[in-house]
Each structure stands twice: as C-alpha cells, then as structure tokens.
C-alpha cells in the first residue's frame, strides 16, 4: 500500500494514558494470561486422573514460590477479566456508555478486582492454616 506522502495520524505513544484504553488493553492481556492459566487447570486435572504421585508433583509445584506467584497472577487476571467482562456485557445492552459511566465503571472494576483477589487469598490462607 502506498501511503508515505499522506500525513499520518499520531501513533500510540503520542497520546496521554487514559483509564479506558489501558483497561481495554489489560482486558485482552488478562484473557491471554487466563489461556495460559487454563492449561494449568487441565494439567492439574490430568495429573489427578493419573494418580496420587502425579497429583503430588503438581501440588508441590503449585506450592512453590513460582507456583504461588502464578496462582496469584491467575487470580488477579481472572477477577479482572470477569469484572471487566461484566462491564463489557453491560455496554452490549446499550447501558453506561457515556464518558462518566465508563470512568466510574472502570474504577469500580479495579476496586472489585482488588477486593475479590484479597478476599479469595485471605480465605485460601485461612483455610490452609486452620
């Protein structure tokens, strides 16, 4: 395509970061992270189906530093994609599409992600120690 002589619109780095665009990109990134996380889900289930030894191996990996970091990242990605997905579904019905609602909804999604992640890990750790 021949386009060199035409003026180009400014590219991404020209614009100031906005909550809306960053959240849109993060939604996609979280979705990709969850694809990787769902591989872990299948590995966990297949290991359990293979027997106690394989299952213990996966459980040991998940209990290691890397495993815990992966699970924490997976939890954040899951709750973010879930909450922001509900925001998207709301938009699909034609609601909350004005500028104010997109920002207040965005902050609500971020707050809900933090609260749900903290609650899930608090419950998990409480269940672990008791």
């Amino acid at each position: 395509m021949k386009s060199a002589e035409r003026p180009l619109s400014p590219h991404l780095q020209i614009y100031r970061w906005q909550l809306t665009s960053v959240m849109s990109i993060l939604h996609r990134a979280a979705g990709l992270a969850l694809c990787a996380g769902s591989i872990l889900l299948v590995v966990w289930l297949v290991a359990a189906a293979m027997g106690p030894e394989a299952y213990r191996g996966v459980q040991n990996f998940l209990g290691s530093g890397i495993g815990v970091a992966l699970l924490l990242g997976w939890t954040v990605a899951l709750f973010y994609h879930l909450c922001n997905g509900i925001r998207h579904l709301t938009w699909d019905t034609g609601h909350a599409l004005d500028l104010r609602s997109t920002y207040s909804g965005g902050w609500l999604v971020i707050a809900a992600t933090v609260v749900l992640t903290a609650a899930a890990w608090a419950a998990g750790i409480w269940h672990w120690v008791s």
């Binding site: 979705g31 969850l34 694809c35 297949v46 419950a123």
Partner: protein, 134 residues
C-alpha cells in the same frame, strides 16, 4: 484500499461478490457473550471450590470430583472456558497477525489446542468421577 487498475473490466461490485461476509460474524459475537455469561457463575464457583481444596491431599481431591455436582461443574467450566478462549484467541490473532497463511494457521492451531485441552480436561474429570483412577 488500492484503486483497481484501469485495465480491469469487472465492476467493483462484481469483484466484491463472493468475497464479502461469510454471514458468520454474528455467531462468533453471540457465542462469545453466551460463554462469557456462563463463565461468570462457573468461574466464581470454581474459585470458591479451589479455596475449599487448599492444602487438600489426593484423596480429598478425588472425593470432591467424585461427587456429581463438582464433576458437572468442572465439565461445564472446561467447555465454556475453552470455547471462550478459542473465540478470544481468534480475535487477537486476527488483529495482530497480518500474513494470511500465518493468520489462518494460528487460528487453526488455537482451535485445535483449545479442543485438545478441553477434551483432556473432560476425560480427566470423568476418570476421577467414575473411579477409574487408583
């Protein structure tokens, strides 16, 4: 779009016919939403279940999957997850991969991988639920 060379005798409409919408775009969009709605309760239920299983040994895990409702929930979760993942990956690939062959190949690879992972997960759940594992 490049303008058609003047030697071309076919009209723009003639060239476009047969190259347009395959009339399947809506289906992709709708199923993406259907699986998204299904995944809201399924994902929340799964996180709650995993919290309950924190630190559980193999026997506890096997007992849990051996119950009908967790087995049903896990199978539904696997189907919705990997259907949703295949559709989402397709959108990402189509946005960023511009070579036609590479794009088609990657979409196909994503679909095959999602299908294989879903089948592997479902078979694992059934193996545990039906007690074939030791």
């Amino acid at each position: 779009m490049r303008e058609a060379p003047p030697t071309r005798m076919r009209s723009p409409l003639g060239r476009a016919i047969g190259l347009g919408s395959a009339k399947e775009g809506v289906e992709h969009w709708v199923i993406q939403r259907v699986t998204a709605v299904a995944l809201v309760p399924l994902a929340l239920w799964f996180v709650a279940a995993v919290i309950q299983l924190t630190g559980a040994d193999f026997d506890a895990m096997q007992d849990w999957v051996g119950q009908p409702l967790p087995a049903i929930g896990l199978i539904l979760l696997l189907i919705a997850t990997f259907y949703h993942a295949a559709l989402g990956l397709q959108v990402v690939i189509e946005d960023y991969v511009h070579g036609e062959l590479a794009r088609l190949g990657l979409v196909m690879l994503a679909r095959l991988a999602c299908t294989a992972l879903a089948v592997a997960g479902i078979v694992a759940v059934l193996t545990l639920a039906l007690g074939a594992a030791d």
